[in-house]
């Protein structure tokens, strides 16, 4: 783990009219780490992500992505960052392969077809690659979405609530994808409202509350903020999710059809 910052946010504010969404956010995402931005609905996660991705202007403060200021060099930021929004933004009329090669062409890569084939292989979408994206399941759409975001190997990948609306199986697929990305050294900033997701994936967690970062640190750091755990004995029942996965999980290998 290096100490260089992939994303450096200082004093970021944003208001929509009278409604102050971000009141002064300071956030550093170190290169090569998975950083979770945890917050309830309406905490301002998506607003922050949209500013990072140059889709929205900040009112005040500095946002620097891989050394480029989003306000003064948005084009360079767009070269280095890749955003996967809350709703899998794939072209339903195009096939999976066409979707990926379209992005490769728009990123001005010399061999879009080869890039598409490579990413479809990585994401287990080779067989489905020739089908229109409208026929994909939620999990497959999300994987295609992430594959499209990885075209051209962006330095920073932003995943905005990547598992919202997905069933548990698809959620685990996305988690596995994020872990694999982390192993390749891609910096990942992911927003989530699920505590478990942050705990599972993130090297560091920032809690966004009322427009500012209320707490930040590793999962262990954050847990240490609370009084020490009290040891009690409780009979552990399987959660419904564990039951669900046990019942349907065996079909996992054949999930992509």
């Amino acid at each position: 783990m290096t100490t260089t910052a992939a994303v450096e946010i200082t004093g970021l504010t944003k208001a929509y009219g009278q409604h102050q969404v971000l009141t002064g956010v300071d956030l550093t995402v170190r290169a090569g780490t998975v950083h979770a931005l945890l917050g309830a609905n309406g905490a301002g996660k998506t607003t922050l992500v949209r500013i990072l991705a140059t889709l929205l202007r900040a009112d005040d403060g500095h946002v620097v992505v891989a050394g480029h200021d989003v306000a003064t060099h948005p084009r360079l930021v767009r070269e280095t960052i890749s955003l996967t929004g809350q709703f899998a933004a794939v072209d339903e009329i195009l096939t999976g392969r066409e979707n990926v090669s379209l992005v490769a062409r728009l990123r001005h890569l010399p061999t879009p077809g080869a890039v598409a084939d490579e990413l479809l292989t990585t994401f287990g979408l080779v067989e489905a690659g020739g089908r229109r994206a409208s026929t994909y399941s939620g999990g497959m759409r999300r994987r295609l979405d992430i594959a499209m975001s990885l075209v051209g190997r962006p330095e920073v990948l932003v995943l905005d609530e990547p598992t919202t609306g997905l069933d548990p199986q698809a959620r685990h697929e996305v988690w596995r994808t994020v872990r694999e990305l982390a192993e390749t050294g891609t910096t990942v900033l992911l927003t989530t409202q699920y505590l478990e997701e942050a705990e599972q994936l993130a090297d560091r967690v920032s809690i966004l509350h009322q427009g500012t970062v209320a707490a930040e640190g590793t999962v262990a750091d954050l847990k240490a903020l609370l009084p020490p755990a009290e040891v009690t004995y409780v009979e552990k029942q399987p959660s419904l999710e564990e039951v669900f996965l046990a019942v349907v999980g065996t079909a996992r290998a054949g999930a992509e059809r």
């Binding site: 140059t54 889709l55 929205l56 992005v103 062409r105 728009l106 990123r107 001005h108």
Partner: protein, 256 residues
Amino acid sequence: MSAAYALGDVVTLTGRSLRHVTRSLDTIITTTVMPVAFLLLFVYVFGGAVEAGSATGSYVDYLLPGILLITVATGVSYTAFRLFVDVKGGIVERFASMPVSRAAVLWAHVLTSLVANALSLVIVLVVALAIGFRSGAGALAWLAVAGMLLVFTLALTWVAVIPGLTASSLDGATAFSYPLIFLPFLSSAFVPTSGMPGPVRWFAEHQPVTSIVDTLRALLAEQPVGDDVWVALAWCAALLVVAYVVAVRLFTRKLG
């Protein structure tokens, strides 16, 4: 560098959006259904009762220019539809967060509209020829007709971009085309304005469709176009500039 990239982006994105058209050719067909229905209805049902005032030429010759404008007015609603789907589905944001020329995102939809409408216009023209439309116009006059229709389509397409960007529902995105489709009825498209009562006649003679229809009709009938062509071009240019400025401003505001 960026100019070449921007042009490349337009080509890539237009290719994508044209694929939407070729994969749903029904949009071309449905675009032509209503204009063709009007064409048949007016020629075979009302045609006998309409005194179009022209001694020579059949009613279908008189009628066709207005029908062509109705075709374009119907066709551009699909541009609003396709843009609306892109905005709602997050595709526009995806493109805007990439090093892609933002102007290319809109121009791709506009160029696709020009191609799709040209296809629809050809279909309507073929139907008109089949039911007796004839013109002795030369290549230059036909070129002028094509140019006039191109400018008209371009202007209406930029108008269509506005609801495509701002509508909150699919119906809202396409509803703008209804008044456009009915504007020709209050013009010289179906009957000469001379028989209309005062205020209606005043409106009909001063709205853009009449000058465009009269220009097209004169070109196809090998008549001099007179001042109508300048009035028609001025209307289209004004509409184009206003719609373009509004659309680009809305787009920029949407994407920060």
